[in-house]
Structures are given as structure tokens and as C-alpha cells.
């Protein structure tokens, strides 16, 4: 019996030690993080996405802005606190979480344009009506003023954008009997070119389109929406405020995609279903000349510049670009869709006026010109586009130079309400078309059902 008493006392001691350990840890750890100011010095945190080496240009821009900012605000330290992830949705999840509380919220955030409206609706962002008096805001192309407006007030300042183009391999097209300065005028001319290439060069992908999940937004954006904008149908009717369940434009685009699949004109499933499809296209397939045409964003050629992960100097001679035509060649003849990024102020930022001043500094044309020139992003205003720093900076990339002018007249996505789910649905539908699981007619039906489900009763038409 004595053994048990000593034994259990021993166990009690161990147990109590354990409890004490945990308690001590808890006590010592109770000091949470607190930012802010101390003794006249202030900190301004800016948070963006770090999605690989190309994001260095972003950081350099903010560092340059911080240097300028120091001249007018000597007591402020600018702290760049990026979120490391290549997946945008993971970035937003973290960003939205940070924005929920004043103790974690940054002062300035880097927002993708298509999330500004829903973040504004959520109450995460501070309204910036003062932007309307800002010279650089007034210089923005009109599209980019509208993108970040919610209930008529701007909630973010657009800083950069991108457009879509058709990249084509000159020699591959010439071999198929097409001109080296090929200019498609309708969706059909793209199909005809693709058929010609397929006939003459069976080992080559005639046309690369982004389709299906897992790429999600990229497929929806570059593989569907930009084409839809060349028709008279829209995802969302601005006049009536309702989401479209279908229409002749949808019919045309779905048929275009179905033909691509049926005639074997697009890339094989193993390519488009690759979560790294963009990398594969830009740094593997294009340099080995396995792709004749590709609908992709304006940054593609900047991947080939020296200093990138896989530079390819011959790219600028091998490839050329063509505008995206409207579906039937009707006015305005070309179509485009843009994304882009902006700077915004979280509602729970500890110092909104300071944040606003930093945004103004960062948006000076000289700084933006330098940034856009090296980052493969397009300027959103004429001041920057014409700035000599920018034009000389992109002089080695003729393909990119072509893209600059589109920013002035491009479109943007209806990124509010059920947009996120609808975008995922579009990607799912295009993927099923590319797998041969849906015909164009079935795709239209599926899409109509999706829209009714996501948008809800009374919010749809057509």
C-alpha cells in the first residue's frame, strides 16, 4: 500500500508540473501583437501578395514610394508585409481575415480590382470620396474609375491593369498559309486559322484557350468572358440590374468552344487541367513552338525577358500579337477585358488619412511608370502611358507595346453579388465542354440553371 501512495504522489507531481508549465506558457504568451505608434514615430503597414519572384517589382515600387513618402513624412516608417502565396484566393482569405480587426488590419492593402466591390459591400474598405479630387484619379481612363466604385463612391485607386491578346507564332502560321501579320476579324476567322494549322501541322496546338477548373477565374476570364464581350450579350445587364441566363452571344461563344473541342483545335486535357497551366504555356510550350495561337494576357512576353525564371530572347521575334476581334466583326471591331489591381484602405486601418497620403505618393506618374515598365502591367492612365520612363522601359518588348493602347477602351467584370460563384460555374461549364461532356446547347441549359440558382429569384432575366 505504501508503494501506491508514493506512486500516486509522484503522478500528482508530474500532473501538477504539467499544468504549471501550460499556465506559465499561457501567462507569458498573453501579450498579443500591437502595432501603431510610440513616441511620435508612426508605422504604416502595407500588405500585398507575394506570388513568386515577379512580385519583387511590386515591392520595389513600394520601397521607392516609401522613400518619397519619408521626405514629406519623416516620422513615419513604411512596413511592407506581404502574404506569401501564389493562389489569389488564399491571399484574399488571409487579407479579409486581417481586415476584420483593427489590431491586425494593415493601413494600405493591395486589392484585385474584382474584389473591391464585394469587400466594400462587406464593410472591409473605407470609402475614398476624396479620390474624386485627386489629379491622378481624374486622369484615369473612365473604365478604371468605374471598376472601384460602390454606390457611386470610389473605394480604391486603380494602379495597373492587363489586357488580353492573341499571341501567334509567325512561322507556324506562315507554314499553314496564313500571313505573318495575321489579323482576325471575327470568331470564325480564328476558327479557320486553327483548322488550317491543324491540317498542315498536326503536332502543334492550333489554339490555346484557358478552360475548366482548376484554373477557375483565369478560364472564366480569358476563356469565356472576353469572348462574350465581343458579342451583344452580357453577363449582367446594367440597365435592369439582372443577371443574364442566356442569349445569342452565349450561344455563339459556347459553340465556338464546342467546335474547338470537336475538331481537336485546342490543347489536350492534360495541359489545360494542369494547375500550373500558365507556366507550362509561357515557359515551356511557347518557347518550344508547340503552340500556334494562344489567348492570354499582356504579361506573357514579359516572362521571356532576361532575369526571369526562364528567359527566352527569341520570343519577341517568334511571336506576334493580334487584337481580339468582336464575334461578327461588328463595331467596335475589337474587344477586350481587363483585370488589374488597386490600392485601398481597410475600414479598420489605424490611420486612414496617413494611408490616403501614401496612396497618393505611390500613384505619382514617375513611380508608376517605373513599376509598370518592369512588372508587365499596363498603365491605367494616359500620364503614365506616355511617360518616357515607361516607354523607354518597355522598348525591348514590342509585343507588350502593342497592348498599351487597349487599356483606354477595355471592359471590366461585374464583380459583385454572386459573381464569384458564377465565375466558378463558367469555368466548370467550359471545362465540361472541353471534356466533351456538354454540347453547346447543353452548356447553355446548364448555365441558365446555374445563374438562376446563384443569383436567386427575381434577379435574372433572359
Amino acid at each position: 500500500m505504501k508503494s501506491f501512495r508514493t506512486a500516486s504522489r509522484r503522478r500528482t507531481t508530474i500532473g501538477l508540473t504539467g499544468v504549471a508549465l501550460v499556465a506559465a506558457l499561457a501567462a507569458s504568451a498573453c501579450s498579443g501583437s500591437s502595432g501603431g505608434s510610440s513616441g511620435g514615430k508612426q508605422t504604416l503597414t502595407i500588405t500585398g501578395q507575394y506570388s513568386g519572384p515577379s512580385s519583387n517589382t511590386l515591392v520595389n515600387w513600394w520601397k521607392a514610394a516609401a522613400v518619397e513618402f519619408k521626405k514629406t513624412h519623416p516620422n513615419v516608417t513604411v512596413k511592407i508585409n506581404n502574404i506569401v502565396t501564389t493562389s489569389e484566393s488564399t491571399y484574399y482569405s488571409k487579407l479579409d481575415l486581417l481586415e476584420r480587426s483593427s489590431s491586425t488590419s494593415p493601413n494600405v492593402v493591395y486589392e484585385d480590382s474584382f474584389l473591391v466591390q464585394s469587400d466594400a459591400a462587406a464593410g472591409y474598405l473605407a470609402a475614398m470620396p476624396q479620390l474624386k479630387n485627386f489629379s491622378e484619379w481624374k486622369a484615369l481612363y473612365p473604365t478604371f474609375q468605374k471598376v472601384t466604385e460602390y454606390n457611386g463612391t470610389p473605394y480604391a485607386m486603380m494602379t495597373e491593369t492587363d489586357v488580353q491578346q492573341i499571341y501567334f507564332d509567325k512561322s507556324l502560321l506562315v507554314k499553314a498559309g496564313l500571313p505573318a501579320n495575321w489579323k482576325p476579324t471575327t470568331l470564325n476567322s480564328i476558327l479557320t486559322a486553327a483548322e488550317a494549322i491543324k491540317a498542315k501541322e498536326p503536332g502543334v496546338i492550333p489554339l490555346w484557350v484557358y478552360t475548366g477548373t482548376p484554373l477557375g477565374e483565369a478560364s472564366s476570364f480569358r476563356g469565356f468572358q472576353v469572348l462574350l464581350l465581343g458579342t451583344n450579350s452580357r453577363l449582367y445587364d446594367q440597365q435592369t440590374g439582372k443577371w443574364e441566363t442566356g442569349g445569342p452571344g452565349f450561344n455563339q461563344v459556347f459553340n465556338f468552344l464546342a467546335t474547338l473541342h470537336k475538331d481537336g483545335l485546342e490543347e489536350p486535357t492534360s495541359d489545360w487541367s494542369n494547375p500550373n497551366a500558365g507556366t507550362v504555356l509561357n515557359t515551356q510550350l511557347m518557347p518550344s513552338q508547340k503552340v500556334a495561337m494562344a489567348i492570354d494576357g499582356s504579361w506573357v512576353s514579359t516572362q521571356w525577358l532576361p532575369g526571369q525564371a526562364k528567359p527566352w530572347s527569341a520570343g519577341f521575334d517568334t511571336y506576334s500579337v493580334a487584337d481580339l476581334p468582336t464575334a461578327n466583326g461588328q463595331a467596335p471591331g475589337v474587344t477586350n477585358l481587363s483585370g488589374g489591381w488597386s490600392l485601398a484602405i481597410p475600414a479598420k486601418s489605424s490611420n486612414q488619412s496617413l494611408a490616403y497620403q501614401f496612396i497618393q505618393t505611390a500613384n505619382s506618374p514617375a513611380l508608376l511608370a517605373k513599376y509598370d515598365a518592369v512588372s508587365g502591367q499596363l498603365p491605367v492612365e494616359g500620364n503614365v502611358a506616355k511617360n518616357s520612363i515607361f516607354t523607354s522601359g518597355i522598348s525591348s518588348d514590342p509585343l507588350f507595346q502593342e497592348a498599351v493602347k487597349y487599356a483606354a477602351t477595355t471592359n471590366y467584370r461585374p464583380s459583385f453579388g454572386p459573381y464569384n460563384q458564377l465565375s466558378t460555374d463558367i469555368a466548370a461549364v467550359t471545362g465540361q465542354i472541353s471534356l466533351g461532356q456538354l454540347t453547346a446547347a447543353q452548356a447553355e441549359k446548364t448555365w441558365a440553371a446555374d445563374v438562376r440558382k446563384e443569383a436567386g429569384a427575381g434577379k435574372t432575366e433572359g
Binding site: S8, Y92, P268
Partner: protein, 320 residues
């Protein structure tokens, strides 16, 4: 520290034997002793209870409650959400995407967990025990190294191996065998291979230990009686290690149902939804569509599936 050899207790197998529950009931219990034990037990369980209760239990409850709301990560219902009862669950159960994700999860479970780890682990254990010490050590180390590799790295190692233009394709092409990537044509098969590769070490080690505890005499007697290797395995070994097998099945099942990173990095749930399992579906709903309450509802279902399977385990164990 003495080597493990001399510290292994007398051989006994699983739940056979008088000391299945640690010999607690061998002495008579006085009330005082029981009270002392209770006190000691409570104190010793305290750190565990506090840590798990506060840091795990509370979030679980919160998550559970969340699945009954319509909270999103962005948009109007981000900071001001309301209670919608079972709405998420009814949407789930009528969603064809959810049903197919559930089915894929089961395929993944059977393929990569039950066959790829439980069965394969047992086979490997049998194999290695017939090898020389040195080969045991080498091959064992290789298998264990696959287990140690962090999941995301294992994922793109397999991507490089199986993918279009990857290692396997180049190897097969060089000997004239065509190969079009199974990541596209049979994504779940690819996932099963990768996950089995990654996880079999655990089962293998568990079975090696279980096999080592089988008394030599039993098997030698069977051999002398003329029993073939197959008979020995099925009639003697398997029944004796039944407990270990059940343990392995449950643990591997629970771990596999929750597996996320491997699938997400290797196929992203694609092509289309061909390899979308419940965990990637949950991620898509919660983090890509920003419908976190809905995503949480998916995870509640995941947990329920795990619980149901665990109940089967407990029942089976009680019977043995």
C-alpha cells in the same frame, strides 16, 4: 538507454491474454485508493483537457455553429451574417458536386488508404521480415523517407513524375512505350499512387512490430504441420494481429479523409471535377467562392463520415 530488445516485454499478442487492460483489476480497490487515483488521474489529465478543450474544442463548437449561418468571407454577409438553420446542409445534399465529391472521397479512401496503405503495408512488412537485416534497414529507410517528405513537396515530386512531359513519360518514351499522363485520364489513380507512396511507411512499421510479437513457435509448428505460406498468413498471422489491423484501418481512414494538400497540388481536383474530393470541395467553397459557412457544413459532414467509420471500429474491437 537500454536498447529496445531488452525492454520488450514478454511476447503477447493483441487482445488475447489476461492483461488486456493493463492489469488494473488485479488488486482489490479500497475506496481511498480509488479516490486517490481519481484525483491523480484528474490532475494528470488536466493539461490535456485544458489544451484540447480550449484550443480545439471551442473552435469546433464555433465551427459547428458557423455551419448554420450564411457567413461569407467577403460581400454583404461577411461581417453581418444570419442564422439560416439547415439551409447549408440541404443545399449540400442536393448538390451533385457534393455527391460526386463524396464518391471520389470514398474511391480515394479505398484505393490509397485501404489497399494502398493497409494491405500494401502488411505485404511490405511480410516481405521485409524475410530479408536480411541490412536490406531491411535500407529498404525500410527508403520507405520511411517517403513518409517524412513534407506533403506539398511530395505532391509536386509526383507531379514531375507523372505529369505530361514528366519523368515517367520520358522514361517510357525512351523505350518506346506511349504514355499519356494518368493525371488527366485517371486522376484518382494517380492520387492513390502518390498517397500510398507517401503513407505506407506508417502501416508498414505498425505491422512489422505486430508481426515481431508473434511467437516463433506457433509459426514453426504450422510449418512442420505442412501449412503453406498462404495458410500461415491467413489462418495464423491475420487472426492474431486483428487488433493491429483494425487500429491501422481506422487511423489511416481518418487521416485520408482529411487529406488536402496532396490532392490540391497534384490535380487541383481536376480535370473538371474528376478528382474533387470532399476536402478540396470544402476548400473551393470556403476559400475560392468565399462561402465559408457552406464550406464548414461540408467539413461537418466529413467529420460525421469519420465518426461513423470510427464507431464501426469501436464495435469491431469490442467484439474481438
Amino acid at each position: 538507454m537500454p536498447s529496445t530488445d531488452s525492454t520488450v516485454v514478454e511476447s503477447r499478442v493483441d487482445s488475447v491474454g489476461p492483461r488486456a487492460d493493463g492489469g488494473r483489476n488485479r488488486h482489490g480497490k479500497s475506496k481511498a485508493r480509488r479516490r486517490r487515483q481519481l484525483l491523480a488521474g484528474a490532475v494528470m489529465l488536466a493539461p490535456f483537457t485544458v489544451l484540447v478543450g480550449v484550443l480545439l474544442g471551442w473552435p469546433i463548437v464555433w465551427t459547428f455553429l458557423l455551419s448554420f449561418t450564411n457567413e461569407t468571407l467577403t460581400g454583404p454577409t461577411a461581417l453581418h451574417h444570419k442564422y439560416i438553420g439547415f439551409g447549408n446542409f440541404t443545399n449540400l445534399l442536393t448538390s451533385s458536386d457534393f455527391i460526386s465529391s463524396l464518391w471520389h472521397s470514398i474511391e480515394y479512401l479505398v484505393g490509397s488508404a485501404w489497399i494502398g496503405q493497409v494491405v500494401l503495408g502488411f505485404v511490405l512488412a511480410l516481405l521485409l521480415r524475410r530479408c536480411s537485416r541490412r536490406v531491411q534497414a535500407i529498404v525500410g529507410a527508403v520507405v520511411i523517407m517517403s513518409w517524412i517528405v513534407p506533403e506539398v513537396i511530395a505532391a509536386f515530386m509526383w507531379f514531375a513524375l507523372l505529369g505530361q512531359g514528366g519523368v515517367l513519360q520520358e522514361a517510357l518514351h525512351s523505350v518506346g512505350i506511349g504514355y499519356s499522363t494518368i493525371l488527366t485520364s485517371h486522376p484518382i489513380l494517380a492520387l492513390n499512387l502518390a498517397n500510398a507512396w507517401r503513407g505506407v511507411a506508417f502501416s508498414m512499421m505498425l505491422y512489422m512490430a505486430a508481426l515481431a510479437a508473434i511467437p516463433r513457435e506457433l509459426l514453426e509448428a504450422a510449418m512442420l504441420d505442412g501449412a503453406s505460406a498462404w495458410r500461415r498468413v491467413f489462418s495464423i498471422i491475420l487472426p492474431l494481429i486483428k487488433g493491429s489491423i483494425l487500429v491501422d484501418v481506422v487511423l489511416v481512414t481518418l487521416a485520408t479523409l482529411n487529406d488536402f494538400t496532396l490532392i490540391f497540388t497534384l490535380t487541383g481536383g481536376g480535370p473538371g471535377n474528376a478528382s474533387q474530393v470532399l476536402s478540396t470541395y470544402m476548400y473551393q467553397q470556403g476559400f475560392v467562392n468565399y462561402q465559408i459557412a457552406y464550406g464548414t457544413a461540408v467539413s461537418v459532414i466529413l467529420l460525421l463520415v469519420g465518426v461513423v467509420l470510427s464507431v464501426f471500429y469501436v464495435r469491431a474491437l469490442r467484439r474481438s
